[in-house]
């Protein structure tokens, strides 16, 4: 029992460290990708001494700068809610990742270590629940800073996130029809056949439309462009975090990028075989590598969309969510279940 507890503790801490580093470098990747799409160079100055290293030390410099900024609380803000809001949005974002498997098993110090922090038979529901909790941070931030832009951002964000959560949940139901379990580890293990290429999206072509609705809904859930109405820079300054500065601002940014990473990981797990790939049976250490490559690919796709597609208008956003995405998800469930029924 003590051994198990120690293993969990180590895995949790390692995962958190990897996640925090990943967040820092995803922000750099975002700036680089944005720069390349707009035919610029992007951050390339901050390096080690004389070596510029393509700006690889930029996130470190940004972090240091942000710590030393003035930690400012507006005069008319609701003091405790204003402080609690960034924590409320960061904590659920950090907690989601523990149920996602990122490899099969490896042997280290004569111990077989399973490459996932924990598994539970309600893994997907756990993730859905935590993403719903994440809305509270944004809404409270918008309300407590006592600023009109923040309030508008918070309200928009809550309405948008709950609207697209329906489409997200119903898309997951379609995947469940094929997978037959909510345990993410089992879902990934079921995709390991045919030299590690029996991914759900290849095995069941009917999941392709489901993937599209799921991906659009998850972009909206993570407040990415074209759904970044909560922080639409051109009309709301910065939306719900207008009044935030210093590390509290960083916490909102971290939560946002953590959500992006988690959403990409879940998409990988549900549709693209998780850590499965060629030769992974013979060399288990390839599992995390494949997983990382797939997640990076999906993150790149999200960035590509961000700098290519213009932002929706708010009424268009709500119309798209309720009148297109939600009916499409329901029709997907009906088609999938009918096809499965006819097969047996």
């Amino acid at each position: 029992m003590t051994n198990l507890l120690l293993e969990w503790l180590i895995k949790t801490i390692v995962i958190l460290l990897i996640l925090v580093t990943a967040v820092a470098y995803v922000t750099l990747m975002e700036r680089k990708v944005m720069a390349w799409i707009q035919l610029r160079v992007g951050p390339n100055r901050v390096g080690l001494g004389k070596f510029r290293l393509w700006g690889l030390m930029q996130p470190l410099a940004d972090g240091l700068k942000m710590i030393f900024k003035e930690d400012f609380i507006p005069g008319q803000a609701n003091y405790w809610l204003y402080i609690a809001a960034p924590a409320l949005s960061l904590i659920p974002a950090l907690m989601t990742f523990i149920v996602i498997p990122y490899g099969s098993t490896i042997t280290l110090f004569n111990r077989t270590i399973e490459l996932h922090v924990t598994r539970m038979n309600v893994g997907l529901l756990y993730i859905l629940a935590l993403t719903s909790v994440g809305v509270y941070g944004i809404v409270l931030a918008g309300w407590s800073s006592n600023n009109k832009y923040s309030l508008m951002g918070g309200l928009r964000s809550s309405a948008q996130m709950i609207s697209y959560e329906l489409a997200l949940g119903l898309s997951i139901v379609s995947v469940l029809l094929y997978a037959g379990t909510l345990d993410l580890v089992d879902i990934v293990n079921a995709q390991s056949g045919f030299h590690g290429l029996a991914w759900n999206i290849f095995r069941y072509p009917l999941l392709i439309p489901v993937f599209i609705t799921f991906y659009i809904a998850s972009l909206a859930e993570t407040n990415r462009t074209p759904f970044d109405l909560p922080e639409a820079d051109s009309e709301l300054v910065a939306g719900y975090h207008t009044e935030y500065s210093s590390m509290k601002f960083v916490m909102f940014q971290m939560a946002e990028y953590l959500n992006l990473i988690t959403a990409s990981s879940i998409t990988t797990t549900l549709f693209f075989g998780g850590w499965n790939g060629p030769f992974v049976g013979r060399a288990p250490f390839l599992g995390p590598v494949y997983f990382m490559l797939k997640v990076l690919g999906l993150i790149f796709l999200a960035m590509w969309i961000r700098y290519t597609v213009p932002r929706f208008r708010y009424d268009q956003l709500m119309r798209f969510g309720w009148k297109f995405l939600l009916p499409a998800a329901i029709v997907n469930i009906i088609i999938s279940s009918t096809v499965i029924l006819l097969k047996y």
Binding site: L9, T12, L16, L90, N147, E243, K248
Partner: protein, 127 residues
């Protein structure tokens, strides 16, 4: 149940991390408040009115509709999770059309609900 212990672990670590970040920036960053700085930011103009104003009732309606639909979506999850299992099991196989048909009736009700909300104009934002 033992597999839920890591959730507790990560909750403690995440709360700790968040508090350390908040306290650290409070200690390290300097603080020089001025009356102008403490005002709500409105692009440099003197703030007009308060921000505790009335809001559009649309947001409230969307929240209500969301609650209804989300409960129905949650109802679908257990059905979907055991769907293949029921079709494959020897005991329940004879009931597969009942199992499928009942949920289809429920889905039709769900769809009719959506059409009702649609026709009532709750989803029209520019009216």
């Amino acid at each position: 149940m033992v597999y839920y212990i890591p959730v507790l672990l990560i909750l403690i670590i995440a709360v700790g991390m968040a508090s350390v970040i908040i306290i650290l920036s409070r200690l390290v960053g300097r603080s020089r408040p001025t009356p102008e700085k403490m005002m709500p930011y409105e692009c440099g103009v003197e703030p007009v009115g308060t921000s505790r104003e009335r809001q559009s009732v649309k947001f409230y309606l969307v929240a209500m509709v969301f609650l209804l639909f989300d409960i129905e979506a949650v109802f679908l999850v257990p059905w979907a999770a055991v769907f293949r299992g029921v079709l494959e099991s020897e005991t329940y196989r004879s009931l597969k059309y009942v199992f499928y048909g009942e949920m289809m009736v429920f889905m039709v009700v769900l769809f009719v609900g959506l059409v009702y909300v649609w026709r009532k104009g709750i989803l029209e934002w520019n009216r």
